[in-house]
Symmetry: C2
Subunit: 295 residues, 2 copies
Protein backbone atom coordinates (compact mmCIF):
# COMPACT_ATOMS: atom_id res chain seq x y z
CA UNK A 1 0.00 0.00 0.00
CA UNK A 2 1.50 3.29 -0.94
CA UNK A 3 1.67 5.83 1.85
CA UNK A 4 -1.14 8.40 1.82
CA UNK A 5 1.41 11.14 2.02
CA UNK A 6 3.44 13.40 -0.22
CA UNK A 7 5.32 11.62 -2.97
CA UNK A 8 8.08 9.35 -1.74
CA UNK A 9 11.10 11.37 -0.66
CA UNK A 10 13.68 11.68 -3.36
CA UNK A 11 17.34 11.08 -2.71
CA UNK A 12 19.13 14.07 -1.38
CA UNK A 13 15.96 15.70 -0.10
CA UNK A 14 15.48 15.73 3.61
CA UNK A 15 12.07 14.60 4.72
CA UNK A 16 10.39 13.88 8.03
CA UNK A 17 11.99 10.84 9.66
CA UNK A 18 9.82 7.75 9.36
CA UNK A 19 7.98 6.48 12.43
CA UNK A 20 10.36 4.53 14.68
CA UNK A 21 8.70 1.22 13.91
CA UNK A 22 9.29 1.48 10.16
CA UNK A 23 12.73 0.58 8.84
CA UNK A 24 13.84 3.09 6.22
CA UNK A 25 13.76 1.34 2.89
CA UNK A 26 16.54 1.15 0.36
CA UNK A 27 16.14 2.61 -3.09
CA UNK A 28 16.02 0.66 -6.32
CA UNK A 29 18.53 2.37 -8.58
CA UNK A 30 18.07 1.74 -12.30
CA UNK A 31 21.62 1.58 -13.58
CA UNK A 32 22.21 2.11 -17.29
CA UNK A 33 24.61 -0.13 -19.14
CA UNK A 34 26.61 0.76 -22.24
CA UNK A 35 25.49 -0.04 -25.77
CA UNK A 36 28.64 -1.95 -26.65
CA UNK A 37 27.43 -5.31 -25.37
CA UNK A 38 30.91 -5.95 -24.06
CA UNK A 39 32.50 -5.97 -27.48
CA UNK A 40 35.59 -3.82 -27.92
CA UNK A 41 34.66 -1.88 -24.83
CA UNK A 42 35.39 1.81 -24.70
CA UNK A 43 36.01 3.64 -21.44
CA UNK A 44 32.78 3.76 -19.50
CA UNK A 45 32.84 7.53 -19.27
CA UNK A 46 32.32 7.69 -23.01
CA UNK A 47 28.73 6.70 -22.41
CA UNK A 48 27.94 6.93 -18.71
CA UNK A 49 28.07 10.03 -16.52
CA UNK A 50 30.63 10.03 -13.73
CA UNK A 51 27.97 10.41 -11.04
CA UNK A 52 26.30 7.23 -12.30
CA UNK A 53 29.57 5.33 -12.05
CA UNK A 54 29.99 6.65 -8.51
CA UNK A 55 26.53 5.44 -7.54
CA UNK A 56 27.11 2.04 -9.15
CA UNK A 57 30.37 1.66 -7.25
CA UNK A 58 28.49 2.01 -3.96
CA UNK A 59 25.75 -0.54 -4.61
CA UNK A 60 26.21 -3.92 -2.97
CA UNK A 61 22.99 -5.65 -3.98
CA UNK A 62 22.29 -6.19 -7.66
CA UNK A 63 19.46 -7.60 -9.74
CA UNK A 64 20.72 -8.29 -13.22
CA UNK A 65 19.78 -9.78 -16.55
CA UNK A 66 23.02 -11.82 -16.69
CA UNK A 67 25.41 -12.27 -13.80
CA UNK A 68 28.51 -12.79 -15.92
CA UNK A 69 28.09 -9.62 -17.96
CA UNK A 70 27.08 -7.76 -14.82
CA UNK A 71 30.39 -8.70 -13.21
CA UNK A 72 32.21 -7.60 -16.37
CA UNK A 73 30.37 -4.29 -16.17
CA UNK A 74 31.30 -3.85 -12.52
CA UNK A 75 34.95 -4.54 -13.31
CA UNK A 76 34.78 -1.71 -15.84
CA UNK A 77 33.17 0.53 -13.21
CA UNK A 78 35.99 -0.37 -10.83
CA UNK A 79 38.56 0.87 -13.37
CA UNK A 80 37.07 4.33 -13.12
CA UNK A 81 35.58 4.44 -9.61
CA UNK A 82 36.81 1.87 -7.08
CA UNK A 83 34.02 -0.40 -5.90
CA UNK A 84 33.12 0.20 -2.28
CA UNK A 85 33.16 -3.55 -1.66
CA UNK A 86 35.17 -6.12 -3.59
CA UNK A 87 33.31 -7.71 -6.47
CA UNK A 88 33.26 -11.09 -4.74
CA UNK A 89 31.48 -9.57 -1.76
CA UNK A 90 28.60 -8.19 -3.79
CA UNK A 91 25.23 -9.88 -4.00
CA UNK A 92 24.43 -10.34 -7.69
CA UNK A 93 21.18 -12.11 -8.51
CA UNK A 94 19.81 -12.85 -11.96
CA UNK A 95 16.25 -11.98 -12.85
CA UNK A 96 14.07 -15.06 -13.28
CA UNK A 97 14.62 -16.61 -16.69
CA UNK A 98 11.01 -16.46 -17.76
CA UNK A 99 11.37 -12.72 -18.00
CA UNK A 100 14.29 -12.84 -20.39
CA UNK A 101 14.74 -13.36 -24.07
CA UNK A 102 12.78 -12.24 -27.05
CA UNK A 103 9.53 -10.77 -25.91
CA UNK A 104 6.38 -12.69 -26.69
CA UNK A 105 3.94 -11.31 -29.22
CA UNK A 106 1.48 -8.94 -27.59
CA UNK A 107 -1.48 -11.18 -28.22
CA UNK A 108 0.03 -14.01 -26.21
CA UNK A 109 -0.58 -14.04 -22.52
CA UNK A 110 2.52 -13.12 -20.58
CA UNK A 111 2.97 -15.74 -17.95
CA UNK A 112 6.04 -16.72 -16.04
CA UNK A 113 7.60 -16.19 -12.73
CA UNK A 114 6.05 -12.81 -12.30
CA UNK A 115 2.54 -14.13 -12.63
CA UNK A 116 1.65 -12.24 -15.78
CA UNK A 117 1.64 -8.59 -16.69
CA UNK A 118 -0.75 -6.26 -18.31
CA UNK A 119 -3.85 -7.70 -16.77
CA UNK A 120 -5.75 -5.31 -14.58
CA UNK A 121 -5.80 -6.31 -10.97
CA UNK A 122 -2.56 -8.26 -11.12
CA UNK A 123 -0.52 -5.33 -9.94
CA UNK A 124 -1.10 -6.47 -6.38
CA UNK A 125 0.11 -9.96 -7.17
CA UNK A 126 3.63 -8.64 -7.45
CA UNK A 127 3.72 -7.78 -3.77
CA UNK A 128 3.90 -11.33 -2.55
CA UNK A 129 5.59 -13.04 -5.44
CA UNK A 130 9.14 -13.83 -6.46
CA UNK A 131 9.85 -10.17 -7.20
CA UNK A 132 9.17 -9.25 -3.61
CA UNK A 133 11.67 -11.85 -2.48
CA UNK A 134 14.32 -10.49 -4.84
CA UNK A 135 13.67 -7.00 -3.50
CA UNK A 136 13.87 -8.09 0.12
CA UNK A 137 17.24 -6.35 0.65
CA UNK A 138 15.68 -3.04 -0.34
CA UNK A 139 12.69 -3.60 1.91
CA UNK A 140 15.22 -4.28 4.67
CA UNK A 141 16.95 -0.97 4.00
CA UNK A 142 19.71 -1.72 1.52
CA UNK A 143 20.02 0.15 -1.75
CA UNK A 144 19.83 -2.14 -4.79
CA UNK A 145 20.84 -1.76 -8.41
CA UNK A 146 18.95 -3.08 -11.42
CA UNK A 147 21.07 -3.65 -14.50
CA UNK A 148 20.33 -5.06 -17.93
CA UNK A 149 22.59 -6.01 -20.82
CA UNK A 150 22.44 -2.71 -22.64
CA UNK A 151 20.93 0.70 -22.17
CA UNK A 152 18.27 1.49 -19.57
CA UNK A 153 16.77 -1.41 -17.64
CA UNK A 154 13.12 -1.97 -18.40
CA UNK A 155 13.21 -0.33 -21.81
CA UNK A 156 13.05 -3.05 -24.47
CA UNK A 157 14.45 -5.60 -22.00
CA UNK A 158 13.54 -7.46 -18.80
CA UNK A 159 13.35 -5.39 -15.66
CA UNK A 160 10.03 -3.62 -15.92
CA UNK A 161 8.36 -6.26 -13.78
CA UNK A 162 10.95 -5.77 -11.04
CA UNK A 163 10.35 -2.04 -11.15
CA UNK A 164 6.60 -2.57 -10.96
CA UNK A 165 7.08 -4.78 -7.95
CA UNK A 166 9.27 -2.14 -6.35
CA UNK A 167 6.50 0.43 -6.68
CA UNK A 168 3.99 -2.02 -5.26
CA UNK A 169 6.28 -2.52 -2.27
CA UNK A 170 6.53 1.22 -1.71
CA UNK A 171 10.20 1.42 -2.63
CA UNK A 172 11.69 4.56 -4.10
CA UNK A 173 12.74 3.95 -7.71
CA UNK A 174 15.43 6.20 -9.17
CA UNK A 175 16.35 5.97 -12.85
CA UNK A 176 19.96 6.97 -13.51
CA UNK A 177 20.73 8.75 -16.78
CA UNK A 178 22.40 6.75 -19.52
CA UNK A 179 22.26 6.04 -23.21
CA UNK A 180 19.11 4.74 -24.87
CA UNK A 181 19.74 3.34 -28.34
CA UNK A 182 16.13 3.96 -29.32
CA UNK A 183 16.33 7.67 -28.54
CA UNK A 184 19.79 8.10 -30.02
CA UNK A 185 18.52 6.48 -33.21
CA UNK A 186 15.45 8.69 -33.24
CA UNK A 187 17.55 11.81 -32.75
CA UNK A 188 19.98 10.73 -35.46
CA UNK A 189 17.19 9.95 -37.91
CA UNK A 190 15.79 13.45 -38.34
CA UNK A 191 12.33 11.88 -38.49
CA UNK A 192 9.37 13.15 -36.43
CA UNK A 193 10.49 13.37 -32.83
CA UNK A 194 7.25 14.77 -31.46
CA UNK A 195 5.31 11.56 -31.83
CA UNK A 196 6.81 8.11 -32.12
CA UNK A 197 6.12 4.49 -31.28
CA UNK A 198 8.51 1.68 -30.45
CA UNK A 199 6.96 -1.54 -31.66
CA UNK A 200 9.69 -3.99 -30.73
CA UNK A 201 10.39 -6.82 -33.18
CA UNK A 202 8.63 -7.49 -36.45
CA UNK A 203 7.29 -10.98 -37.20
CA UNK A 204 9.81 -13.42 -38.58
CA UNK A 205 7.33 -14.96 -40.99
CA UNK A 206 7.78 -13.21 -44.34
CA UNK A 207 4.11 -12.70 -45.09
CA UNK A 208 3.28 -11.51 -41.58
CA UNK A 209 6.27 -9.21 -41.71
CA UNK A 210 5.12 -7.61 -44.97
CA UNK A 211 1.72 -7.01 -43.47
CA UNK A 212 3.28 -5.49 -40.39
CA UNK A 213 5.54 -3.17 -42.40
CA UNK A 214 2.52 -1.85 -44.25
CA UNK A 215 0.63 -1.45 -40.98
CA UNK A 216 3.50 0.63 -39.64
CA UNK A 217 3.54 2.77 -42.77
CA UNK A 218 -0.18 3.29 -42.46
CA UNK A 219 0.02 4.15 -38.78
CA UNK A 220 2.94 6.53 -39.28
CA UNK A 221 1.10 8.28 -42.09
CA UNK A 222 -2.18 8.68 -40.23
CA UNK A 223 -0.72 9.73 -36.91
CA UNK A 224 2.43 11.54 -38.13
CA UNK A 225 4.23 9.16 -35.84
CA UNK A 226 7.69 7.70 -36.42
CA UNK A 227 7.72 3.90 -36.06
CA UNK A 228 10.75 2.35 -34.37
CA UNK A 229 11.67 -1.35 -34.44
CA UNK A 230 14.62 -3.59 -33.79
CA UNK A 231 15.95 -7.00 -34.72
CA UNK A 232 18.38 -9.56 -33.38
CA UNK A 233 21.71 -8.50 -34.96
CA UNK A 234 22.24 -11.59 -37.11
CA UNK A 235 18.90 -10.90 -38.80
CA UNK A 236 19.60 -7.21 -39.46
CA UNK A 237 20.31 -7.78 -43.14
CA UNK A 238 17.20 -9.86 -43.70
CA UNK A 239 15.02 -7.23 -42.06
CA UNK A 240 16.50 -4.41 -44.10
CA UNK A 241 15.96 -6.39 -47.27
CA UNK A 242 12.35 -7.04 -46.33
CA UNK A 243 11.66 -3.38 -45.63
CA UNK A 244 13.31 -2.26 -48.86
CA UNK A 245 11.30 -4.80 -50.77
CA UNK A 246 7.84 -3.94 -49.61
CA UNK A 247 7.69 -0.41 -48.24
CA UNK A 248 6.52 2.45 -50.46
CA UNK A 249 9.22 4.32 -52.42
CA UNK A 250 8.53 7.62 -50.69
CA UNK A 251 8.57 6.18 -47.18
CA UNK A 252 11.52 7.42 -45.16
CA UNK A 253 13.70 4.77 -43.56
CA UNK A 254 16.39 5.50 -41.02
CA UNK A 255 18.88 2.93 -39.80
CA UNK A 256 21.37 3.37 -36.97
CA UNK A 257 23.97 0.67 -36.47
CA UNK A 258 26.37 0.44 -33.53
CA UNK A 259 25.22 3.58 -31.76
CA UNK A 260 27.97 5.16 -29.61
CA UNK A 261 30.57 2.85 -31.16
CA UNK A 262 33.41 4.17 -33.34
CA UNK A 263 32.27 2.04 -36.24
CA UNK A 264 28.64 3.04 -35.85
CA UNK A 265 26.70 4.99 -38.46
CA UNK A 266 23.27 6.44 -39.13
CA UNK A 267 21.54 6.97 -42.43
CA UNK A 268 18.14 8.36 -43.40
CA UNK A 269 16.77 8.25 -46.91
CA UNK A 270 13.61 7.35 -48.80
CA UNK A 271 13.07 3.72 -49.70
CA UNK A 272 13.68 4.67 -53.32
CA UNK A 273 17.05 6.19 -52.39
CA UNK A 274 18.03 3.18 -50.29
CA UNK A 275 17.22 0.91 -53.24
CA UNK A 276 19.35 3.03 -55.55
CA UNK A 277 22.32 3.02 -53.21
CA UNK A 278 22.15 0.24 -50.66
CA UNK A 279 24.89 -0.12 -48.04
CA UNK A 280 28.14 -1.21 -49.67
CA UNK A 281 28.43 -4.26 -47.49
CA UNK A 282 25.91 -6.43 -45.70
CA UNK A 283 24.32 -4.77 -42.69
CA UNK A 284 26.29 -5.78 -39.62
CA UNK A 285 25.20 -9.10 -38.19
CA UNK A 286 26.81 -8.45 -34.83
CA UNK A 287 26.22 -4.80 -34.04
CA UNK A 288 22.75 -3.85 -32.83
CA UNK A 289 20.71 -1.78 -35.26
CA UNK A 290 17.64 0.36 -34.82
CA UNK A 291 15.19 0.87 -37.68
CA UNK A 292 12.81 3.81 -38.01
CA UNK A 293 10.25 4.58 -40.63
CA UNK A 294 7.89 7.37 -41.47
CA UNK A 295 5.49 7.24 -44.38
CA UNK B 1 22.49 12.88 -53.24
CA UNK B 2 23.86 10.27 -50.95
CA UNK B 3 26.99 8.55 -52.16
CA UNK B 4 26.40 5.15 -53.75
CA UNK B 5 29.02 3.71 -51.48
CA UNK B 6 29.35 2.02 -48.13
CA UNK B 7 27.64 3.81 -45.30
CA UNK B 8 29.13 7.17 -44.43
CA UNK B 9 32.37 6.76 -42.51
CA UNK B 10 31.88 6.93 -38.82
CA UNK B 11 34.10 9.04 -36.61
CA UNK B 12 37.23 7.29 -35.53
CA UNK B 13 37.14 4.85 -38.39
CA UNK B 14 39.69 5.37 -41.11
CA UNK B 15 38.22 5.29 -44.57
CA UNK B 16 39.53 5.94 -48.05
CA UNK B 17 40.43 9.59 -48.45
CA UNK B 18 37.83 11.49 -50.48
CA UNK B 19 38.66 12.47 -54.06
CA UNK B 20 40.86 15.59 -54.06
CA UNK B 21 38.10 17.75 -55.48
CA UNK B 22 35.69 17.04 -52.62
CA UNK B 23 36.22 18.92 -49.37
CA UNK B 24 35.83 16.57 -46.42
CA UNK B 25 32.64 17.48 -44.68
CA UNK B 26 32.19 18.20 -41.03
CA UNK B 27 29.97 16.10 -38.84
CA UNK B 28 26.76 17.20 -37.21
CA UNK B 29 27.10 16.22 -33.57
CA UNK B 30 23.83 15.91 -31.65
CA UNK B 31 24.77 17.18 -28.22
CA UNK B 32 22.53 16.24 -25.30
CA UNK B 33 21.60 18.85 -22.74
CA UNK B 34 20.73 18.25 -19.10
CA UNK B 35 17.18 17.87 -17.82
CA UNK B 36 17.50 20.65 -15.26
CA UNK B 37 16.49 23.47 -17.60
CA UNK B 38 19.13 25.61 -15.97
CA UNK B 39 17.41 25.63 -12.59
CA UNK B 40 19.62 24.81 -9.60
CA UNK B 41 22.16 23.25 -11.92
CA UNK B 42 24.08 20.23 -10.79
CA UNK B 43 27.55 19.44 -12.07
CA UNK B 44 27.28 18.43 -15.71
CA UNK B 45 28.94 15.10 -15.10
CA UNK B 46 25.93 14.04 -13.06
CA UNK B 47 24.05 13.66 -16.31
CA UNK B 48 26.46 13.84 -19.24
CA UNK B 49 29.36 11.49 -19.97
CA UNK B 50 32.83 13.00 -19.85
CA UNK B 51 33.53 12.14 -23.49
CA UNK B 52 30.45 14.12 -24.51
CA UNK B 53 31.68 17.15 -22.60
CA UNK B 54 35.05 16.79 -24.29
CA UNK B 55 33.42 16.73 -27.72
CA UNK B 56 31.23 19.71 -26.90
CA UNK B 57 34.29 21.67 -25.76
CA UNK B 58 35.83 21.24 -29.22
CA UNK B 59 32.88 22.37 -31.30
CA UNK B 60 33.02 25.89 -32.64
CA UNK B 61 29.86 26.04 -34.70
CA UNK B 62 26.53 25.57 -32.95
CA UNK B 63 22.89 25.36 -33.99
CA UNK B 64 20.72 25.81 -30.94
CA UNK B 65 17.16 26.19 -29.77
CA UNK B 66 18.02 29.26 -27.66
CA UNK B 67 21.31 31.13 -27.82
CA UNK B 68 21.22 32.39 -24.25
CA UNK B 69 20.69 28.99 -22.66
CA UNK B 70 23.20 27.52 -25.09
CA UNK B 71 25.84 29.93 -23.84
CA UNK B 72 24.92 29.05 -20.25
CA UNK B 73 25.34 25.38 -21.13
CA UNK B 74 28.73 26.02 -22.71
CA UNK B 75 29.87 27.90 -19.62
CA UNK B 76 28.98 24.81 -17.60
CA UNK B 77 30.94 22.67 -20.06
CA UNK B 78 33.88 25.01 -19.66
CA UNK B 79 33.88 24.42 -15.90
CA UNK B 80 34.58 20.76 -16.51
CA UNK B 81 36.43 20.74 -19.84
CA UNK B 82 37.98 24.01 -21.04
CA UNK B 83 36.46 25.20 -24.29
CA UNK B 84 38.90 24.98 -27.17
CA UNK B 85 37.95 28.51 -28.24
CA UNK B 86 36.60 31.25 -25.99
CA UNK B 87 32.82 31.41 -25.81
CA UNK B 88 32.77 34.78 -27.59
CA UNK B 89 34.62 33.27 -30.55
CA UNK B 90 32.06 30.53 -31.12
CA UNK B 91 29.42 30.72 -33.81
CA UNK B 92 26.06 30.14 -32.13
CA UNK B 93 22.98 30.33 -34.33
CA UNK B 94 19.39 29.82 -33.28
CA UNK B 95 17.11 27.49 -35.19
CA UNK B 96 14.42 29.35 -37.11
CA UNK B 97 11.58 30.34 -34.80
CA UNK B 98 8.88 28.60 -36.78
CA UNK B 99 10.36 25.30 -35.67
CA UNK B 100 10.15 26.11 -31.98
CA UNK B 101 7.46 26.06 -29.35
CA UNK B 102 4.56 23.77 -28.72
CA UNK B 103 4.20 21.36 -31.61
CA UNK B 104 1.16 21.75 -33.79
CA UNK B 105 -1.53 19.09 -33.71
CA UNK B 106 -0.77 16.31 -36.15
CA UNK B 107 -3.74 17.09 -38.36
CA UNK B 108 -2.54 20.61 -39.03
CA UNK B 109 -0.14 21.12 -41.86
CA UNK B 110 3.35 21.80 -40.65
CA UNK B 111 4.58 24.82 -42.47
CA UNK B 112 7.29 27.26 -41.58
CA UNK B 113 10.83 28.00 -42.44
CA UNK B 114 11.62 24.42 -43.23
CA UNK B 115 8.95 24.19 -45.86
CA UNK B 116 6.88 21.55 -44.13
CA UNK B 117 7.60 18.05 -42.94
CA UNK B 118 5.98 14.75 -43.29
CA UNK B 119 4.88 15.18 -46.87
CA UNK B 120 6.41 12.71 -49.28
CA UNK B 121 8.67 14.33 -51.78
CA UNK B 122 9.56 17.27 -49.61
CA UNK B 123 12.69 15.63 -48.33
CA UNK B 124 14.59 17.08 -51.26
CA UNK B 125 13.32 20.55 -50.46
CA UNK B 126 15.55 20.65 -47.43
CA UNK B 127 18.65 20.58 -49.58
CA UNK B 128 18.29 24.09 -50.88
CA UNK B 129 16.40 25.73 -48.06
CA UNK B 130 17.28 27.65 -44.92
CA UNK B 131 18.54 24.48 -43.24
CA UNK B 132 21.19 24.04 -45.89
CA UNK B 133 22.38 27.56 -45.22
CA UNK B 134 22.60 26.92 -41.49
CA UNK B 135 24.59 23.76 -42.19
CA UNK B 136 26.99 25.49 -44.56
CA UNK B 137 29.89 25.33 -42.08
CA UNK B 138 29.57 21.56 -41.99
CA UNK B 139 29.41 21.32 -45.76
CA UNK B 140 32.57 23.43 -45.76
CA UNK B 141 34.31 20.98 -43.46
CA UNK B 142 33.67 22.26 -39.93
CA UNK B 143 32.13 20.07 -37.26
CA UNK B 144 28.89 21.49 -35.89
CA UNK B 145 26.90 20.86 -32.74
CA UNK B 146 23.11 20.76 -32.46
CA UNK B 147 21.74 21.54 -29.00
CA UNK B 148 18.24 21.89 -27.62
CA UNK B 149 16.96 23.07 -24.25
CA UNK B 150 16.81 19.70 -22.58
CA UNK B 151 17.65 16.12 -23.38
CA UNK B 152 18.45 14.87 -26.86
CA UNK B 153 17.95 17.26 -29.78
CA UNK B 154 15.19 16.22 -32.11
CA UNK B 155 13.32 14.13 -29.54
CA UNK B 156 10.21 16.04 -28.45
CA UNK B 157 11.82 19.33 -29.47
CA UNK B 158 12.98 21.26 -32.55
CA UNK B 159 16.01 19.92 -34.32
CA UNK B 160 14.67 16.97 -36.29
CA UNK B 161 14.34 19.12 -39.40
CA UNK B 162 17.96 20.18 -39.15
CA UNK B 163 19.02 16.57 -38.82
CA UNK B 164 16.90 15.63 -41.83
CA UNK B 165 18.56 18.38 -43.83
CA UNK B 166 21.97 17.13 -42.74
CA UNK B 167 21.19 13.68 -44.10
CA UNK B 168 19.93 15.19 -47.34
CA UNK B 169 23.21 17.07 -47.65
CA UNK B 170 25.22 13.90 -47.13
CA UNK B 171 26.60 14.97 -43.76
CA UNK B 172 27.54 12.42 -41.12
CA UNK B 173 25.21 12.72 -38.15
CA UNK B 174 26.45 11.45 -34.79
CA UNK B 175 24.11 11.33 -31.78
CA UNK B 176 25.99 11.68 -28.49
CA UNK B 177 24.67 9.78 -25.50
CA UNK B 178 22.77 11.72 -22.87
CA UNK B 179 19.66 11.62 -20.72
CA UNK B 180 16.22 11.27 -22.24
CA UNK B 181 13.44 12.13 -19.80
CA UNK B 182 10.98 9.99 -21.74
CA UNK B 183 13.11 6.87 -21.41
CA UNK B 184 14.05 7.53 -17.80
CA UNK B 185 10.36 7.92 -17.00
CA UNK B 186 9.53 4.73 -18.86
CA UNK B 187 12.24 2.81 -17.02
CA UNK B 188 11.13 4.23 -13.68
CA UNK B 189 7.49 3.40 -14.33
CA UNK B 190 7.75 -0.38 -14.45
CA UNK B 191 5.15 -0.32 -17.22
CA UNK B 192 5.56 -2.24 -20.50
CA UNK B 193 8.92 -1.32 -21.94
CA UNK B 194 8.71 -3.60 -24.95
CA UNK B 195 6.13 -1.50 -26.78
CA UNK B 196 5.40 2.13 -26.11
CA UNK B 197 4.26 5.30 -27.84
CA UNK B 198 5.10 8.90 -27.12
CA UNK B 199 2.12 11.00 -28.08
CA UNK B 200 3.34 14.45 -27.11
CA UNK B 201 0.83 16.82 -25.54
CA UNK B 202 -2.83 16.14 -24.89
CA UNK B 203 -5.46 18.63 -26.05
CA UNK B 204 -6.06 21.56 -23.73
CA UNK B 205 -9.80 21.54 -24.32
CA UNK B 206 -11.35 19.52 -21.51
CA UNK B 207 -13.73 17.51 -23.66
CA UNK B 208 -11.12 16.76 -26.31
CA UNK B 209 -8.68 15.81 -23.58
CA UNK B 210 -11.13 13.33 -22.04
CA UNK B 211 -11.64 11.74 -25.43
CA UNK B 212 -7.90 11.54 -25.96
CA UNK B 213 -7.29 9.94 -22.55
CA UNK B 214 -9.80 7.24 -23.36
CA UNK B 215 -8.25 6.76 -26.79
CA UNK B 216 -4.89 6.22 -25.14
CA UNK B 217 -6.36 3.72 -22.70
CA UNK B 218 -7.97 1.88 -25.57
CA UNK B 219 -4.79 1.86 -27.63
CA UNK B 220 -2.66 0.73 -24.70
CA UNK B 221 -5.06 -2.06 -23.92
CA UNK B 222 -5.31 -3.36 -27.49
CA UNK B 223 -1.64 -3.13 -28.34
CA UNK B 224 -0.12 -3.77 -24.88
CA UNK B 225 1.64 -0.51 -25.45
CA UNK B 226 2.53 2.05 -22.77
CA UNK B 227 1.36 5.55 -23.70
CA UNK B 228 3.67 8.44 -22.80
CA UNK B 229 2.69 12.11 -22.77
CA UNK B 230 3.92 15.41 -21.40
CA UNK B 231 2.63 18.83 -20.46
CA UNK B 232 3.97 22.33 -19.98
CA UNK B 233 5.02 22.38 -16.29
CA UNK B 234 2.52 24.98 -15.09
CA UNK B 235 -0.30 22.75 -16.37
CA UNK B 236 1.02 19.57 -14.73
CA UNK B 237 -1.57 19.66 -11.94
CA UNK B 238 -4.46 20.24 -14.29
CA UNK B 239 -3.42 17.33 -16.47
CA UNK B 240 -3.04 14.97 -13.53
CA UNK B 241 -6.47 15.97 -12.27
CA UNK B 242 -7.98 15.34 -15.69
CA UNK B 243 -6.44 11.89 -15.98
CA UNK B 244 -7.50 10.91 -12.47
CA UNK B 245 -11.01 12.08 -13.21
CA UNK B 246 -11.70 10.19 -16.38
CA UNK B 247 -9.39 7.19 -16.70
CA UNK B 248 -10.56 3.75 -15.61
CA UNK B 249 -9.84 2.74 -11.99
CA UNK B 250 -7.65 -0.20 -13.01
CA UNK B 251 -5.58 1.76 -15.49
CA UNK B 252 -1.99 2.16 -14.37
CA UNK B 253 -0.64 5.69 -14.26
CA UNK B 254 3.01 6.54 -13.75
CA UNK B 255 4.29 10.05 -13.17
CA UNK B 256 7.92 11.13 -13.03
CA UNK B 257 8.67 14.67 -11.93
CA UNK B 258 12.06 16.35 -12.08
CA UNK B 259 13.99 13.39 -13.49
CA UNK B 260 17.68 13.42 -12.52
CA UNK B 261 17.06 16.23 -10.03
CA UNK B 262 17.51 15.73 -6.28
CA UNK B 263 13.88 16.70 -5.65
CA UNK B 264 12.58 14.46 -8.42
CA UNK B 265 10.35 11.45 -7.82
CA UNK B 266 8.54 8.69 -9.69
CA UNK B 267 5.33 6.93 -8.74
CA UNK B 268 3.30 4.18 -10.40
CA UNK B 269 -0.12 3.11 -9.19
CA UNK B 270 -3.58 2.35 -10.49
CA UNK B 271 -5.94 5.26 -10.99
CA UNK B 272 -7.92 3.97 -8.03
CA UNK B 273 -4.83 4.06 -5.83
CA UNK B 274 -3.89 7.54 -7.02
CA UNK B 275 -7.39 8.76 -6.17
CA UNK B 276 -7.14 7.24 -2.69
CA UNK B 277 -3.76 8.82 -1.99
CA UNK B 278 -3.05 11.74 -4.27
CA UNK B 279 0.24 13.63 -3.98
CA UNK B 280 0.37 15.56 -0.71
CA UNK B 281 0.98 18.82 -2.47
CA UNK B 282 0.11 20.14 -5.89
CA UNK B 283 2.12 18.59 -8.68
CA UNK B 284 5.10 20.83 -9.40
CA UNK B 285 4.28 23.67 -11.74
CA UNK B 286 7.92 24.31 -12.59
CA UNK B 287 9.59 20.93 -12.84
CA UNK B 288 8.98 18.95 -16.02
CA UNK B 289 6.84 15.85 -15.60
CA UNK B 290 6.32 12.81 -17.77
CA UNK B 291 3.06 10.87 -17.65
CA UNK B 292 2.65 7.24 -18.67
CA UNK B 293 -0.40 5.08 -18.75
CA UNK B 294 -1.25 1.48 -19.44
CA UNK B 295 -4.76 0.14 -19.37
Amino acid sequence: MLPAAPPPPAPGVSSSPPPPSVTPRGHLWLVPNTLDLGAAPQPLDAVLPTAVLQRAARLQHWLVEDAKTARAFLKRVHEMVPLQQPLQALSITELPRAAKGRPVAPAAARTGAMGGRGTPGEHGGARAGPAAQLLAPAVAGHDMGLLSEAGLPGVADPGAEMVAAAHALGLVVVPLPGASSLMLALAASGLHGQRFAFVGYLPQDAAARRTRIRELESRSRQAHETQIFIETPYRNGALLAAVLECAAPATQLAVSVGLTLPEGWSRTATIAEWRRSPPGGALSDRMPAVFLLQA
